[in-house]
Amino acid sequence: MALDPSFVGRCFPVPGTYQVAREKIREFADAIGDNDEIYRDPGVAQACGYRDVIAPPTFAIILAFRGQQALVCDPELGLDYHRMVHGNQSFTHHRPIRAGDELVATLHVDGVRTMGGNDMLTVRCEITDSAGDPVTTALSMLVFRHSAAEQDR
């Protein structure tokens, strides 16, 4: 089933605000095997000019992923999460994410196309602080593979 091009332009706000905690940054850094103290020790981060510990460059995926969950769970779009493959990803950091930030995120559907038996969605997660100032723009291309039965048709 090809995706409806009218999905382009839809927005999926991530519910609530995301409070960035020092311990979550530490947990994420541990999970990616990065022992840089700038993710753990506020003194080290402050010596680098930051108010508090900063997050690794891909930390924002936590928010982008929540936006993608909202998208995939929308029954109108009819997407199958189990057939989703991540095609590409980019992050533009307007400034680093820091512990103590209160972040707000909205996922935007920027593009829909069908190619080679797959549906491809380009989505953009705009992450701002509580004042509305931009923090990170995360672009993802999500591929939804058609089932074998559909491809046989």
Partner: protein, 140 residues
């Protein structure tokens, strides 16, 4: 403080990085990131969608590759843009060795006096797993 502009020239190679990824790493990354897709921890779920076995999260591979750049840059906050394409999944067997992933990087372009682009390669089992992987780094 990030790497100084005077210390960097086009063509510089970054120190390489080798990381062994095991099933336990995938479970830990699932918890930290919130991506609990079972294809990253359950063989049955992986096979049901046509994969040979459990695969690593693409985002874990991207995060591991970022370590190459942040370590070199000296300040993770200096990475202003970071982009990758996921071209091949990393299959992670259910054993103690897991999958070995090798990362390398090179300064390929100077955007302006204080900004460079690093191109990253990531290989597993003699094949590239990331394509067009680049990081834009602000120098001090």
């Amino acid at each position: 403080m990030s790497r100084r502009r005077g210390e960097v020239v086009e063509g510089d190679e970054l120190p390489g990085l080798q990381v062994r990824v095991t099933r336990a790493d995938l479970v830990r990354y699932a918890g930290a990131s919130g991506d609990f897709n079972p294809i990253h921890w359950n063989e049955r779920a992986a096979r049901e969608v046509g994969l040979p076995d459990v695969i690593a999260h693409g985002m874990l591979t991207m995060a591991l590759a970022s370590r190459l750049v942040t370590t070199w840059a000296g300040d993770p906050g200096a990475v202003v843009n970071y982009s990758v394409r996921f071209i091949r999944p990393i299959v992670v067997p259910d054993d103690a060795d897991g999958a070995l992933v090798e990362f390398s990087g090179k300064v390929v372009r100077r955007v302006d006096e204080g900004t460079v682009v690093v191109a990253i390669t990531a290989r597993c089992a003699a094949q590239s797993v990331l394509g067009q992987a680049t990081a834009t780094v602000a120098l001090s």
